[in-house]
Structure formats: C-alpha cells, structure tokens
C-alpha cells in the first residue's frame, strides 16, 4: 500500500488498515450477540456451521468424550471467530461514527424571515436546526456552527471543516462559483454568510456519513452477491458430499458419528472466506473513508475497480494550479541578463503565481537578485483587461510585459519596431503549448522589444509514472482542458496521458462520456461545478469535490472531502484492492480443502480399510487428533486472517496476467500448502492431550 500512504496521517482518524488487538476483546460481546440464528442466517456458510455445532453439542451431551467435546468447543469457536471478524470491522466504523456524532450537536439556526432591503437589516428568527426546511435561508456569523447543508447565497467566510475532513486548516467558502457549498456541523471562523439550506434534517451529509461508516446502510455489492451465491452452492455440494457419505460408510462397515461428520463438513465448506467476507466489505468502505472519500453506494465502489477510462481535469490534477516561467528568450542583440532583469523588474509588484515565478526564475537561473535595483521612485503599472500589460515606470526607462499583440502595439506607439525574430519566437512558444509574454523597454521615448518569457504548465511530479501504471492496468487516461488543442496536446504528451479533450465545454465532456460508455467502457471523473453535475451523474464513477456545489455533490456517487482531484487514482486502487482481497481469500479458502481431506478421510476410514493409511501423508498421530487438528486449523485461520481482511492484500498496479500469477502463487499454492504444515504442527500439540491420542 505504499502508493496510498500519504494521506493516512490525518488527525482524529482511526489509522487505516491496522488491527488493534484490543479491538478483539472489545468486540467480543458483539460477536456473542451475533450468534442469534436470525442474524447468522444472513451468512449461509457460517449458519451451516452453527447448525452443525448445535447438532454436535447434542451428540456430545449424549455420548461424551474428550474428543467430542474438544471438537464441539472448536466448532463454536469457529462461529465466534467469524462473528468477531465482522464485529471488529464494524467496531472501527463505530469509533468514527462517534467522532462525527459529536459534530452533530443540536444547534440554533438564525432563519431569515424577511431579507435585507435598501439599508433595512434582515429580520431573523431563532429556530432549532432540526426544524429547518429545504430552501430556508439562515445567517451564520463567525464562531457559529452551520446548522445544515446548504449553499452560500451571500458573503464569503473561512470555514473550519475539520469535523468531517479531519483537516485543521480552514477553507474559504463564498457565494457564486464552485466553492459555495457548506456542510452542517462545520464552523464559520470569520465573516458572515447567508446559507440556503439544501438538505432535509436527518438526510444531511453528516447523517449519511455516519450511516456509511457504521455500516448501517451497507448493502452487498454486486460482486459480493455473486460470490455469496458461489459460496452457498459450494456449501450445498459439501452438505451433499457429507450427508451421502454416511450410507457409504455404513455399507463399508464403519458408520461415523455426527461429531465427525460435522467436523468434516465444517472443514470442507468455505468457512474462511464465509467468515471474512463481510469484514472485507466493511473494511474496504472504511479504507475509502480513511482516505476521506465517501462512496454513496457499493455499486460505485466496484465500478471504480472496473473503470476503463479516467477523465482528469488538467488544472490541479495533472498540472500544478498555474503556469510558470520556464525560460527567457532574448531577441538578437539583447543580452539575456538585460531581458531577465527587465522581466524581473516588471514583475516585482505582480503577485500572481506567474509573476512570482518570473522573479524566481530570474534570480535562480540568471543571477538577478530580487528587488536590487528598484528605488522608491518606481511606479508599478498594474495589469488591466484593457491594456493586457503590466510593468514598471522608472525614472530612466519604462518596462512593459504582456501579450505579444499588446506589447507590440506599445512598442510601435513608442517609435520602435518588433522584428520578425520576435514573432517567430512567439509563434514557436504558442505552438509548443506554452504562453509567450513579450518584454519591452522604452528608454528616452524610444521603445524596443527585449525578448520573450516562456510560461508553461508544470506537470506535477510523478504523474507520468502513475499514468503508465494506469495503462498497465488497462485504464485509459483522458485529460480535460479548456486550453486550445495545441497546448493540450503538449501537456498531454509531457504528462504521458493517452488522450485529451481540448476546449472542452460541459457538453463536450458529456458527449465524451456517452461515447465511451457506448463502447462498453466504464468512465470515472471528478468535478465540482454545477455545470459538471450532468456529467458526474452520467459517469459510472463521479467523484464530487467537497468544496464544490451541492448540485455536484448530489450528482456524483462519491465525495472527496479533501477536494483533491488526484484522489481518483487512489480510489481506483482502493476499490481494486477490495476485489482482490475477496478473490484471494476465496481461493485460499477453497485451496485449503485439499489438505483437510488428506487429514480427515483416512482418519475416518483407516479402521476398516488399513490401506487408506497411505493417504495420511502428514502422518498424523491418531484419527481423533487428525480430525481435531483440522477443525482447530480451520478456526484459527479465521483469526489469523482478520488483519489481512481488514488491511486488504498487498496491491501493486500491474497487468492482469502478472497480478494473477502473483496472487495464484501466494493464495492458491499457498492455500494448498499452508494447511498441510498447520495441521501437522497442531497435531504435534493435540496428540499430547490425554484422551485424544
């Protein structure tokens, strides 16, 4: 899980994937409560074990022996261990739910009765948060808790969302745009906002989150249902195998006791995976929550594992938020130091990331110390939409930087001329996907162009490697950007994406999703704006940013509380890991049966057919110790695998073939070999119990 490690160190969260041994103890009462047959019935495999345990208990009462009672005790422990696995998984969710509930204390809301008009202050009334209705508008000022989910309709505020995200740094929320949604239970730290309520009480985000982590609303996912069917049918086969064995045994002159037959049955049916299946599911959802992702349905989780196409927004996901200066290109006859100096001077007052990057580049690459040559008489000319230039007026010269056309005009007005080399450089930078900024100076009323600053998108480090991994897993990555096709292509190539959608409108995005789905592909995307909502709803996996609008959060089937678009890649990995864990433990469980047969069958019939001793390849001590050892192994392996079920099996992105080879070797072959060793070791101990050997 090395790829997933970075966001697990959130405060106020249960550490992901680790099993605290104390959890076993605290979950014990829950697991005893789950012995209720009405609860057990939901898990057919373990229900069969429980029925078997009841029958053998009756037999042990009527025909007591050390062997019979030992088997009975371990049969009950098998059931108990299965319940324990589920209880531990649920317990971790409950701890999180408790944290969330604390945020959900009842608050008083200030509901707007009549809005403010022309200097008349708004009239508000105090109501309980639980009495708020859809569409109500409430006032929240600094220090107050937001009473319910909604959108800010007026104002801007910094909000502490640590209650739900675990992130202590406050976030900015403002009306209009894509950062207008607020969550009930979070606290306004500054300013005053009007919030329009968009969720009914009891259906708020926090309510859904609590239900989710507690597992109360957990529904079996499609693959889990399919796996359950397979496990149930395997159970039926083994019930038939065991039940029909008795007539054959009687015919062979060696009728078997109920205890032995139940022991055989319990060892054969897939108890390992049957016991851990629901724990794996709960833990998988939990792992998503640890990564601050809320999946609204199990279906979405599995769809994420199956995704064929990832639509990734360029800004923030693939590139750092802003363009940065990469290189200065002077026109012939101008020395580079002069260009760098001029570029830096013109940008000293430019607080945009682009401006700052120019200052940094001049300093780091061209040795121009920042702020060295600016006196108090410098007048900075800010950027305006009309001039499309910014710059600085010094006593002896004026410097301007900006779009090629605007600066060119400025130069011509000042009696200078922009040479053909300049326009060639500008075109080259545009063609390569960068943004050219022309720098010019005017000395004594005569202007000349000095050169060009090449601004370009900076691809986040490590992205190319991640996309290569995605490709290995058969996932196509598509970049969505508003840039022109040339720029888009350059970035897509640099970042190693498979495809791009340039000058994308929401309609284009929607059309792309539909086209991919036509071909049978599953599409995942992230979005935050209201205009993303239709596409989020159409995509098979739509991850809405928590900072986004309510409409977007409503439309998606997952919400990322960290509002980190890169998270999509991790989501896919976590969901795949969930499926792999299920498959691996199923394989392990079935493979285990081989060894158990070699332990139990010779033990049952070696009395009548001494030649069957040859099947006792483990050389187990006695029939009783062989059977008991198999039953104990069967029970202990459940406890032993609980940590793996909760943590998930190790997952490294690779091709399906490579992954299958690895997992088959570990869980298939390992599943065949492990019980031979385990049962033999147990037999060495068990055979020393008086009354067994």
């Amino acid at each position: 899980m090395t790829t997933l490690a970075h966001s697990t160190d959130q405060p106020a969260r249960v550490a992901a994937g680790l099993l605290d041994p104390r959890m076993l103890l605290t979950s014990l009462p829950d697991s005893v409560r789950k012995l209720d047959p009405r609860v057990m019935m939901r898990n057919p495999v373990m229900f069969v074990v429980e029925i078997g345990a009841v029958f053998s208990t009756c037999t042990a009462v009527t025909h007591p022996s050390v062997f019979a009672w030992s088997v009975v005790v371990w049969l009950w422990l098998t059931v108990l261990f299965a319940n324990l696995a589920e209880a531990v998984a649920e317990g971790r969710g409950k701890a999180q739910a408790a944290t969330l509930r604390r945020a959900k204390t009842e608050t008083t809301a200030h509901r707007v009765v009549s809005p403010a008009t022309d200097g008349v202050a708004a009239v508000t009334e105090d109501v309980m948060a639980s009495d708020l209705r859809l569409g109500d508008v409430v006032v929240v000022v600094a220090g107050q808790v937001i009473p319910g989910d909604g959108d800010i309709v007026e104002g801007i505020a910094s909000v502490d969302e640590s209650a739900i995200t675990g992130e202590s740094a406050p976030v900015i929320r403002e009306s209009g745009g894509d950062r207008s949604s607020v969550t009930g239970g979070t606290r306004v730290l500054s300013d005053r906002v009007l919030v329009q309520i968009t969720a009914r009480p009891g259906e708020s985000f926090i309510d859904r989150m609590i239900a989710l982590v507690e597992g109360a609303s957990r529904q079996k996912t499609p693959n889990e249902i399919a796996l359950n069917i397979l496990l149930a049918s395997l159970t039926i086969v083994f019930v038939a195998t065991t039940a029909t064995l008795q007539p054959f045994a009687i015919y062979s002159g060696s009728p078997q006791s109920v205890v032995v037959l139940v022991a055989l049955l319990v060892c054969l049916i897939p108890t390992t995976i049957g016991a851990l299946l629901s724990a794996i599911g709960i833990a998988g959802m939990d792992r998503l929550v640890q990564h601050n992702v809320l999946a609204m349905s199990g279906r979405a989780v599995e769809a994420a594992g199956d995704v064929n196409t990832l639509l990734l927004d360029k800004t923030g996901t693939i590139t750092l938020g802003n363009r940065q200066a990469a290189v200065f290109i002077p026109v012939p006859g101008v020395e580079i130091g002069r260009l760098a100096g001029a570029a830096q001077l013109s940008s000293l007052a430019d607080e945009t990331p682009e401006g700052r990057s120019i200052v940094v580049l001049a300093e780091s690459s061209y040795g121009v110390p920042a702020g060295s040559r600016v006196g108090s008489d410098a007048v900075f000319v800010p950027f305006t939409a009309q001039t499309r230039m910014s710059g600085v007026d010094l006593p002896d010269r004026q410097i301007r930087k900006g779009a090629a056309a605007s600066v060119g005009t400025w130069v011509r007005e000042q009696g200078g001329a922009a040479g053909p080399e300049l326009s060639r450089t500008v075109d080259e930078i545009s063609t390569s996907g960068g943004t050219p900024l022309v720098v010019a100076e005017s000395v004594d009323g005569v202007a000349r162009a000095l050169g060009v600053i090449h601004l370009k998108d900076v691809v986040k480090p490590g992205m190319a490697a991640r996309f290569a991994q995605m490709r290995l897993m058969g996932i196509r990555t598509v970049m969505i950007t508003g840039d022109n096709p040339l720029t888009a292509q350059a970035i897509a190539q640099e970042a190693g994406l498979d495809d791009f959608l340039a000058e994308a409108t929401p309609e284009d995005k929607m059309a792309l999703i539909k086209k991919e789905q036509e071909g049978g592909r599953l599409v995942a995307m992230t979005g935050d704006g209201t205009n993303d909502a239709p596409a989020l709803a159409q995509a098979d996996v739509g991850v809405a940013m928590n900072s986004g609008t309510s409409a977007a959060k409503e439309a998606g089937n997952m919400v990322d509380l960290d509002s980190d678009p890169t998270k999509l890649i991790e989501i896919v990995e976590i969901c795949k890991q969930l499926l792999i864990t299920r498959g691996a433990l199923t394989t392990f469980s079935i493979a285990n049966d081989v060894a158990k047969y070699f332990a139990i069958i010779p033990a049952m019939f070696v009395g009548v057919f001494p030649s069957l001793q040859r099947l006792n390849v483990m050389h187990l001590d006695s029939p009783e110790s062989a059977i008991l050892s198999a039953v104990i192994f069967n029970a202990l392996i459940i406890i032993g695998l609980i940590p793996l079920a909760l943590r998930g099996v190790r997952y490294t992105p690779s091709s399906a073939g490579a992954m299958l080879r690895r997992n088959l070797a570990i869980y298939g072959l390992g599943g065949i070999v492990a019980p031979f060793v385990g049962i033999k070791l147990l037999d060495l101990v068990v055979s020393r119990i008086p009354g067994i050997s």
Binding site: L227, T244, I601, F609, R614
Partner: protein
C-alpha cells in the same frame, strides 16, 4: 514390436490424425453454423415442419423447442420398444418391459446409451435402426446446438436471440453427422465390421452347443455410435465384439471418431468468438486432462499391482487380447472422457486405481474432451467459474470473452456445477442405503460400491458405459438411472441456454491490459486445476471408500 512401442505408436497416430482434422472440420462446423444459406433438402424439411429458418429464438423458446423435441423422442422410442413384437424384422423378440423401455428410451435420447439390456437378444432391427440409431444422430446434434447457442450468447450483444434450434439441429445432422458417419461406416465395413439384415445364423459349436450368431446393420450404427459420442452398442459386448470392432486398426478409428467432434468444436468456438487462442486454451485443458488420465490408467494397468494380477502376469481380465492393455486403456479413457460409453474392455476388471481413474474422468463432468457439444459447454461453464474467482484476484468484475460475470451468471453456473454431483451422490446414496438395490451388486466391499457409483456417475454424466458387475436391469435401477440421465442431461442444458441468454443481453466490453487473459499457459493451468479440484473435492470421500480402498 513390443507393447510399449505399439501403444505409443497408436497414441501418436491418434493425436496426429486429430490434429490433421482439427482445422478443416472446426472451420467447416463454423461455416455450417453461421451460414445464411440453406440446402434444398433443408428448405424442404423446414417447409414440411413449418419452420421459418430465418427466425431467431429467445433462450426460453430455444430450450422449449429442445425439450419438446426430446420429449417426443423419448415417447417415440418408448412406443417402438413396447410394440416391437408387431414390427417387421423383430427377429422374434417380444415387447420390451416398461421399466427397461423407459430406461432405454431416455438413455438414447439423452446421448447416454446406458444399456441395461443385451442388444442382440432384446432389440430387433427396426428398433435398432429407426429408433436407437436415429436418436444417436439427434442426441449428438442436440448437444452441439446447446454449445452453439452458448457461444452465440458470448458473441452477440444486447439481444435476446440465440439462434434457431430447428435450423441448428437440421444443419448439424444433414451437413455434418450424416456425411461423416457414411464415410466412417464404409471404413469400418472395409475393416471387417458386419453390415447386413441377417436374422441370425444358427450354429453348432465344437463342443456341440447351439449358438445363434446375430448379424445386422452393425457398421452403420457403429459409426454414429462413436462419432456422436453415443456409445450404445449393437451387441452387449459393445466395441469388444469383433463384429463391431474387428481389428486394432478399427479400434484406433473408433477412438478417433469419438474424439473427433468434441476436439474440432474447440476450433469452431475459437472462430466464432473471433479469437482462436480461446479455442486453443480450452483444447489445451481438455488435452492435458485426457493425456494425464491416459498415462495414469495405462500405468496402473501395465503395472497391474495386486497379488492375483502379478501372478497372472498382466491385467488382461476383461480385456481383448486383440487390443491388450495399452489400446484398452486408451479406449477406456477416451470413452469415459467423451461421455461416449462405448467400451472395448470391461472397466470393472481394471485395477482398483485404474477403474477409479475412469470414474474420476466422468466425475470431471465429461470435459476431457467431453461429448459432442456437451464437452464444450461443460468446460466453458467451468471456465466461467475459474474466471470468476481469478478475475476477482486481478481487481475487476470478472469477465470472460468480453462479457461480465455477474450474480445472474454465477447463479446459473453454480446450479450447473451443483446438478451433476447432487444426482450422482443422492442416487448412489439411496441405492446404497436400501437392501433391494444392494442385492443387484455382484461384488462386495469397495468394488461393490464402485459398481453402484459408476452406474450413477455414468448415467448423470450421460456417459453410458457400465462398470459391469451390477445387475442393472431391475425396476429400481432402470427407473433411478433413467431419472438420473434425464436430469443429468436436461437440467444442465436449460441452465446453459439461460446462461447464453444472459450473456447475449449484455453488451460486449472492450478488452484491455487489465482484462484477465483467458488464453496462455497460466489460464490453461488455472482451468485444469479448477476442473480437477471441483471434481476432486466432490468425489474424494466416496472414491476413497471405493477405488482407493481397493487399489491402495
């Protein structure tokens, strides 16, 4: 030439001949099953029965047509046997007893060809030719129909149509089975098999005994008996009888015939799903299983451990000296692996473990390489199950041949895999629990259990071979095995058609590097392992009490 060289040479010739026919026959079958054109004789048949050859059926209609047609087949065959005494060429045989007639009718319609009677002393020529031989063609074709419908389910997208049962049936019989069996029959006649309408030669033997030697249309029935993986012999001794299988050469030809269509169908499968590697993978699994069992049984027989056999010097009891241990083992594994049930030696006389291996071969579910069509759909169902578990292990909703395996498909696959073992185990369990059926056993101890287990294994898997040593012509066994054959044939078929329907409704999804590759050695190994483990886990206990207890 010693036995080993001869045995290896025979196996080599057999494999080479199959390899030679693999491509032409497989591709021919593809053309037959996908062609838009009807032959004139076919058009005439469709007109007579009122079928529109261009109409496609839903899986339910396809299954209903198949069941109705087979039902009529059972009734007709039952009626023929019950009225035999009034038919011409009855050779003086009377009407067949109701329980036996039911058993036999079911047996031939289900491609099982379990025979609780002796052909030469029970069935006249009319019943043999217009009853049994007709069903030999039909039941073989029906199996192929079901396999093709399943393949169409994989290939088609977003439709509820799986093809037309009547068209598939007619084409397979007219264009494939009839021409091939004519060729095979001629070859068999040339090799010495009999073909006449003789009412029987009455002879006095050297010892002064009277004996009737029955002739009949043997070669023609023999051809389709092997080609259609039927196995119902004209004579009680089946392919051990010199009139049916006169020479070692005809022996090889018969083994070749019974493997021919099941093997070639994997090519058809690969071509129809437009990925020949898929066909090769399935064939590789079948071949691995078949070859391993041939090696195992041959080894057990040639080593013939056990005091009596060691004293005799060879495990030749129940085997023809014409064929010897090697050819007998080759035939036995091929016949139990193709659900044919023809025998050239008596499986009951095999060594304990050798007989156990034959039992296990059927227990695999008849997939090595299985009956005509049934072998292919059997292995495909196992492949779906293997892909399901393995697919989860690569972190995706499992998919096979570009179709997803969801709860609905797994439900059908699970029921399919449940069906056969349930029939075998409950049937054998009931038989062993009551003294009546137990009295049919001619042996006691583990061998007796093997006999009864073999009977139900053979019936439920529609194999039809017998372990012998069991007096199966009793009301209990006739009815119980009849039911086992019916359930073992049609429950899986309906499930497979439903599976085809479920897959056809899905859209085909694109293949990516993240898709589990279902060709190549890894998958072949996986599918082979799953097939062995599924059968092994189910039958290990009862095999331990039968063959293992006897042979270890």
């Amino acid at each position: 030439m010693n036995d080993t060289t001869a045995g290896l040479l025979q196996a080599g010739v057999l494999v080479a001949a199959l390899a030679l026919c693999y491509r032409p026959l497989g591709s021919y079958l593809t053309r037959v099953l996908t062609s838009e054109r009807d032959l004139r004789v076919e058009r005439a048949m469709y007109r007579v029965v009122g079928v529109d050859p261009r109409s496609d059926q839903r899986w339910q209609t396809y299954a209903a047509s198949l069941l109705a047609f087979s039902g009529v087949g059972v009734l007709a065959l039952y009626a023929l046997q019950r009225t035999q005494s009034h038919l011409p060429l009855s050779l003086g045989f009377g009407n067949v007893d109701p329980a036996l007639a039911f058993n036999t009718a079911v047996s031939f319609v289900t491609n099982t060809n379990w025979q609780a009677y002796s052909g030469e002393s029970t069935m006249g020529h009319v019943v043999q030719m217009s009853g049994l031989a007709v069903q030999n063609f039909i039941s073989a074709a029906v199996g192929i129909c079901v396999a093709v419908a399943l393949i169409r389910g994989f290939v088609r997208s977003r439709t509820d149509r799986l093809g037309n049962f009547w068209v598939d049936l007619v084409r397979i019989i007219v264009r494939v089975l009839l021409p091939l069996s004519v060729l095979a029959a001629i070859a068999l006649i040339l090799m010495g098999a009999v073909q006449n309408f003789s009412g029987g030669e009455h002879l006095t033997t050297l010892a002064g005994q009277h004996q009737t030697i029955t002739g009949g249309p043997v070669a023609s029935q023999e051809a389709i008996k092997e080609l259609g993986t039927n196995g119902g012999g004209f004579y009680n001794a089946n392919s051990a009888h010199p009139f049916e299988n006169p020479t070692p050469l005809s022996n090889i030809l018969e083994i070749f015939l019974l493997l021919l269509i099941p093997v070639a169908l994997t090519r058809t499968f690969g071509e129809m799903v437009e990925d020949k590697r898929q066909g090769y993978a399935v064939l590789a699994v079948m071949t691995t299983l078949w070859a391993s069992l041939v090696v195992a049984v041959t080894t057990f027989e040639v080593h013939h451990s056990g005091t009596a056999l060691q004293a005799a010097g060879a495990a030749m009891e129940g085997k023809e000296t014409r064929f010897g241990e090697w050819s007998s083992a080759l035939f036995a594994v091929s016949t139990t692996g193709t659900s044919t049930g023809a025998v050239n030696s008596f499986h009951s006389s095999y060594t304990g473990l050798g007989g156990g291996a034959l039992l296990f071969n059927m227990g695999l579910g008849e997939v090595a390489p299985g009956g005509t069509g049934s072998g292919l759909y059997g292995i495909l169902v196992l492949a779906i199950m293997a892909v399901f578990v393995a697919g989860l292990m690569v972190g995706r909703t499992p998919e096979y041949l570009r179709k997803k395996i969801t709860a609905r498909e797994i439900k059908l696959v699970s029921l399919y895999i449940l069906a056969m073992p349930m029939i075998v185990l409950t049937g054998t369990g009931i038989a062993m629990a009551f003294p009546g059926p137990r009295s049919s056993m001619l042996n006691h101890g583990p061998h007796g259990l093997s006999e009864v287990l073999y009977a139900f294994m053979s019936a439920a898997n529609n194999n039809g071979s017998a372990f012998a040593g069991l007096s199966a012509n009793t009301s209990f066994f006739n009815v119980a095995l009849g039911i086992a054959m019916l359930l073992g044939r049609f429950v899986p078929m309906v499930l497979v058609l439903a599976l085809g329907g479920a897959f056809a409704r899905q859209q085909r999804i694109p293949e990516t590097p993240g898709t589990l590759p279902t060709h190549g050695p890894l998958f072949v190994g996986l599918l082979t392992g799953v097939t062995i483990i599924v059968a092994g886990l189910t039958f290990f206990p009862v095999l331990a009490l039968g063959p293992f207890a006897e042979g270890l």
